[in-house]
């Protein structure tokens, strides 16, 4: 116990309250995906789902959510790859440059992450329209790369800065060029940092909605969040199908969080506090 603020029963109650606050609404919502239509709207609520797969079937057959899923995988996957590639180059350079120079460049890059999207979407939309890139994967991936780069560069620069300089020096003495040293010595040792940055970029691109909504107007090109937001039934809101699509969208994220929670926490706090 660090602060001694909590006595034991109080501590237990606080833990349960926190778990309930975080999980209960979400579990209730995704459990509706496994219910039947009558169960879904029943009053009093039916706590235990019938584990019917009807809503999943309907979401796949009538709403074609596989399209959305594939688009999400392509967009989030390529965003992550491109961002990590560019951020590795930039982060490596920033870690080598004198601190004063790198600090100024980093501040500039980080400022980019703070702008409200509304201030950039109009011109981005016009630019993509001129290029004929609306409703294309590159039209969405490039802005996503721009929006995920700041955090990735930040995390990787901090990571590369902590790496002992002797390693690279030894590689150079052995006849490597700077770039060979980066690829053969630095990168293999940076796997944890790269991985952290990649997880955060992936989550961002997977979840992003605003730009996706504007750039992908063709349902065949839309990502999962756009699909979930625009889900329309003929007469009533198709809650079961929405819950099923939500379940499919969040399942990979929940698994990632359960496995990599420590990494995610370090990555996020590196971006905010270490400066």
């Amino acid at each position: 116990m660090k602060t001694g603020l909590f006595r034991k029963p109080l501590f237990l109650a606080a833990t349960l309250l926190t778990v309930g606050f975080s999980l209960a609404p979400f579990l209730w919502f995704v459990s509706s995906a496994f219910k039947t239509q009558t169960q879904l709207t029943a009053i009093p609520p039916q706590w235990w789902p019938a584990f019917s797969m009807e809503f999943f079937r309907s979401a796949v057959l009538h709403y074609g959510i596989f399209h959305y899923l594939i688009n999400s995988v392509i967009v989030a996957g390529s965003t992550t790859l491109v961002t990590i590639f560019l951020a590795t180059l930039a982060g490596y350079a920033l870690a080598q440059l004198p601190r004063r120079v790198s600090q100024i460049i980093l501040m500039g890059i980080l400022t980019c992450a703070m702008f409200p999207q509304i201030a950039i979407v109009g011109p981005i939309w016009k630019f993509l329209q001129i290029m004929g890139w609306l409703n294309t994967y590159q039209g969405l991936v490039l802005p996503y790369v721009a929006l995920t780069l700041p955090l990735a560069v930040w995390i990787l620069t901090l990571f590369f800065q902590q790496m002992p300089k002797e390693l690279e020096a030894a590689a150079l003495v052995d006849g490597c060029t700077r770039l060979m040293a980066l690829v053969r010595v630095i990168l293999p040792l940076s796997a944890p940092g790269l991985f952290t940055a990649a997880i955060l970029c992936f989550i961002y691109a997977w979840n992003e909605f605003f730009l996706g909504l504007l750039i992908m107007t063709d349902p065949l090109k839309q990502t999962m969040p756009v699909g979930i937001a625009l889900f329309q039934g003929e007469h009533v809101v198709p809650w079961g199908e929405i819950a099923a699509a939500s379940f499919i969208t969040t399942a990979p994220l929940v698994i990632m969080v359960l496995i990599f929670q420590r990494r995610i926490v370090t990555g996020l706090s590196a971006g905010a506090v270490k400066g």
């Binding site: 606080a14 609404p25 879904l40 930039a90 702008f115 509304i118 011109p123 490039l142 929670q261 905010a272």
Partner: protein, 295 residues
């Protein structure tokens, strides 16, 4: 570092900076440019004549914009204060070493990790006026008394605020936790030896030492809350009667639904200026901490 190395480093920086300039820097400049022009998407033959500060003048007179600004400020103020408070409590809890701490941390992260769109649909479902869980918890089976929370101006904004607090308190908790973890254990041990109780240890050690982390969390959350869009778009589409028409949603409607690029840009530039001021305060604070840490 040889001159050749320096060239290589600058060369490595070029692609990242190019992407940022093309998709963040240039668009912001163009938004500022457009905000001084009339630009209507549906009427390209009108070109984009310079209209000076007309758009901003209109913005000041626009009652919807004023209302939108007001509710955005209410949203930002309430969500950030509750998120910091709940975030602090969660952070104090996770900071304890106990078995299952990793599992607790993972649970807390889940609201943060899921897409805002999913959490918005989730809250829309929970606030449903015919079979929503929130109505059931309050009124039981008496469905005649159920309240259409999202269809009433007074409660719709509160519903949005609750949804946002649920979604992002955990992020605030993480930022505060990072501040808690750098406090050395010796301080607490020394205070305990001196006979300080838990409240005094909190007020005299924890509180002063996490204030910087709280400030960071505050500014991060404020900047982010000003950008609220997804929640309002899914839960209420701005309604009822503009009660949840937050600034970013209003700007989006003006630009992309009604096609007023110039006027919409004036809205977005205003949001940008507000956020810029906050960002400068934020970066200066962080900068000062850096200086102190190095001194």
């Amino acid at each position: 570092m040889t001159p050749g190395d320096k060239k290589l480093y600058l060369f490595l920086l070029v692609p990242a900076i190019l992407v940022l300039l093309l998709f963040v820097g240039a668009p912001i400049c163009q938004s500022i440019f457009l905000s001084f022009h009339r630009d209507i998407i549906a009427l390209p033959q009108l070109k984009t004549p310079f209209v000076g500060l007309d758009n901003f003048g209109e913005l000041l007179r626009d009652p919807v914009a004023r209302h939108s600004f007001l509710i955005t400020v209410i949203f930002v103020a309430t969500t950030t204060s509750f998120e910091l408070l709940i975030g602090l409590l969660i952070a104090l809890l996770i900071n304890h070493r106990f078995p299952g701490r990793g599992a607790l941390r993972a649970c807390v992260l889940i609201p943060w990790a899921i897409p805002t769109v999913v959490s918005a649909q989730m809250w829309r479902f929970l606030f449903n006026d015919a079979y929503g869980m929130i109505n059931y918890v309050i009124f039981g089976v008496e469905s005649a008394r159920y309240i259409p929370w999202l269809a009433m101006p007074g409660t719709a904004l509160s519903a949005l605020i609750i949804a946002d607090i649920w979604k992002t308190s955990s992020f605030a908790a993480l930022l505060i936790l990072a501040g808690l973890q750098v406090i050395p254990d010796e301080l607490y041990r020394a205070a305990r030896v001196d006979g300080a109780g838990s409240w005094r240890r909190f007020w005299h050690i924890t509180w002063p030492l996490i204030r910087p982390a709280l400030l960071v969390a505050l500014l991060f959350r404020t900047i982010d809350a000003f950008r609220v869009f997804d929640l309002a778009f899914v839960m209420t589409p701005g309604g009822p009667a503009d009660a949840t028409n937050v600034l970013q949603l209003y700007g989006y409607k003006k630009m992309f639904v009604e096609g007023w690029m110039g006027y919409g840009s004036a809205i977005s530039v205003s949001v940008f200026l507000i956020v810029l001021v906050l960002a400068i305060i934020y970066l200066r604070t962080i900068g000062r901490h850096l200086m102190e840490a190095r001194a």
